[in-house]
Symmetry: C2
Subunit: 136 residues, 2 copies
């Protein structure tokens, strides 16, 4: 995920966008909220407004550079969209996120949608719990 991906998406290459992409790259195991990203930017001395962070993330979502998730915390969190579909295990204590794919579940989802007469466009499965590290 780099500047040429921005270009492809019809977005100009600007400091806020490059920095935000970098931050998302470095946090692949931990999905970040807009506020998280804003804090990280501030701490590294970048003078980027919170409004810009929200705006950029929304644009990235539209451009399919990132995926927005609505975990049960309330606010949205974001991760880079690497094109490979997956579901999530979310630790409710530390926020750690693990990804998984289960073909059987995928298959059954399709079947459920079909049975109900739905034309499936998307789906999201989140399993919440306490991760290994937090159990100790």
């Amino acid at each position: 995920m780099n500047n040429s991906d921005l270009k492809k998406a019809g977005l100009k290459i600007t400091l806020p966008r490059v920095k935000i992409l970098e931050i998302l790259e470095k946090a692949r195991d931990r999905h970040l909220s807009a506020e998280d990203i804003y804090t990280i930017l501030n701490e590294s001395g970048e003078e980027i407004g919170l409004a810009t962070v929200y705006r950029v993330l929304t644009q990235f979502e539209e451009a399919k550079l990132v995926i927005r998730h609505h975990f049960s915390e309330g606010h949205s969190v974001f991760e880079l969209d690497l094109g490979t579909h997956h579901d999530h295990l979310v630790c409710v204590k530390c926020g750690h996120v693990e990804e998984f794919v289960d073909e059987l579940i995928e298959k059954r989802q399709k079947a459920v949608a079909e049975n109900a007469g739905f034309c499936m466009t998307d789906h999201s499965l989140n399993i919440y719990g306490i991760c290994k590290a937090c159990q100790m």
Copy 2:
């Protein structure tokens, strides 16, 4: 779901709470947001503040009278908690919600969590698509 359920939850029986429960009862096929409920209250002439609606819904959630969902629209929506776990098919056009349970998916979820060393506390599966009615 009635006044005695409020009592059991340690909540006093007040007009806002009773009215909000009634509204949720009548909208079982369509999950409502706080704003939706506020609008319905206003239209039926009740002078209940938006803050109260948010507060009551949060209390209901804590009391396990309602379940809060984070569908992809962004804001939370609520449904009565009738005690039977289920997942959701959500129509992205009309907001219609259908419930389903698939034992195979349930089983696989447990297995996935276990394999990852997670102690599962909860899970949510939403399938988004166009419902039968909206396809015509």
